[in-house]
């Protein structure tokens, strides 16, 4: 059984990531370009879906704490990449690195309910 406060935080962090990626699609910063918009919007939609599913049927009693913690770690990693991009004038990220990290985070959130 997972702690209900940490699961609530995973929900909040997933929503935050969906929002941040949406904003990145609206105003892309390097390594993202205008051409990255479609993929950013698609992936942020996936992330929002995962958040919504988690909120609606995420039952802490049926989750393993290790999976919830793993999701929290992945979410933080993905969020921190966007935060870095948004707060620095340059970076060495490749778009694929960020997309992969978000994919992993979304999958980890979905795995919590598996």
């Amino acid at each position: 059984m997972a702690n209900s406060n940490t699961t609530a935080q995973v929900y909040a962090d997933t929503c935050k990531l969906a929002y941040t990626e949406t904003q990145m699609a609206i105003s892309p910063r390097s390594p993202f370009k205008i051409a990255s918009r479609s993929r950013l919007l698609g992936q942020s939609g996936e992330c929002a879906d995962a958040a919504k599913e988690f909120r609606e049927s995420g039952d802490p009693a049926a989750m393993e704490q290790t999976k919830v913690d793993a999701a929290a770690t992945k979410l933080r990693a993905a969020q921190s990449m966007f935060d870095y991009i948004n707060t620095h004038t340059s970076n060495t990220f490749k778009t694929a690195d960020v997309f992969n990290m978000v994919d992993e985070a979304v999958q980890a959130v979905r795995d919590c309910r598996a």
Binding site: M1, S4, C15, Y19, T22, A48, K52, R55, S57, P60
Partner: protein, 411 residues
Amino acid sequence: MEKSNWNAHAVAALRSVALVMATVLASGCATVVYKDGASTFVAAGRAVTKQLSDASANLAIAEDSVRLSRIVTNASCPIAEARLFVRPTGSSPVKYSKLLERFPSRASESGCITLVKCDADQVADQACKTACYSREEANCLVNLEKDYAIEIGRQAGKQPGDKELSKDADLLAARLKKTEYGRAAPLESRVLGTSLQVLMEYLDLLGKVAEDRKTEIPDDAKKLSDGLKKATDGFSQATGTQLSAGFTAQRTKVQNGIGALGKFLGTVDLLIKNSKDVEEIKKIVNQNKDAVPLLVEAVRPIFGGDANLIAALNNQANFSFRQDIEARFEQAKDGYERRQLMAELTKYPLGSGEALEASVNKIFDSLLRSHSTLVTLINNPTDDQIKKIRSEEFNTFRGLVEDAAGLLALL
């Protein structure tokens, strides 16, 4: 039981708050109406409480905006139909072929055959690339849902129950919920709204305890107690209808909360019978001072998450609408038409989730500080310095809720 659900801490905290409330209720006597409504937490927070709980309930509306933005991209969407389904963009782990297995005659219908074909991974067929499910596919979905409802009705009460049937019905309901335009909103925001309302009413009650306004306390406490009972009934009623079509995970989760609230109301009745002493109120306020932080920490991430999710969904949809307007702008024949399109753009603003999340956090911080000061004041009722701090904190709270209400209106 309450540990097994998402709202476990909220329910536990509500229970502790109600324990204090019940003691307060039991110790009061006469009735005097509290006239200065503008200086209460409930009055100051009314607008934002409603807006925040509405905002959470409106997540489904924001989700629908995203679906609408996809529907309008494709002229072939059968919008005249009673139910409209948006084709998912990614692959789903639950396949319609599996869900149709128990209804072979349904599976042989042409709409269902197309549905299954398009549901496979990496389909090249152009008929499967449309934004919406075709009329025939949608009809298959509607009838499949009916088939499951009929089958569940036929199996009701039979022992042993068909667990696979219930599981498949839930999987279907989950898929439909993700794709259907205009499907019902979830319930859980009611628990959130009630939690916030209880917090504010409880702080007002503590204010009266601090000021020794004993004559006003019983009415307020009873009102709070009645409100909680009504809310509990409301959860039960809604659960019986809105979720009856399936989704047992969600139904169980909400019912766990209802059960916990019901148990806690039983405890309230017991306390009302046994407690009379005003000093007892102070003791119990002190003993339960962790209840408020517990409730705040349980609901804060959910409100904050909702704020970001609504902003993300609205922005995704609005950005798509803005792109549609831009396409029209490129084709516009003159400046007049372009000006009209520019005016149209203002209907689709790109809102800020961060500002709202920060604002919601400040409100909860302010509630926590106010609670802590009120508890101190109850223990030191003559301390003028604490009274001043209390007054300043209340004014801060009032300013914060006005800010949040303004931001919510923009979403």
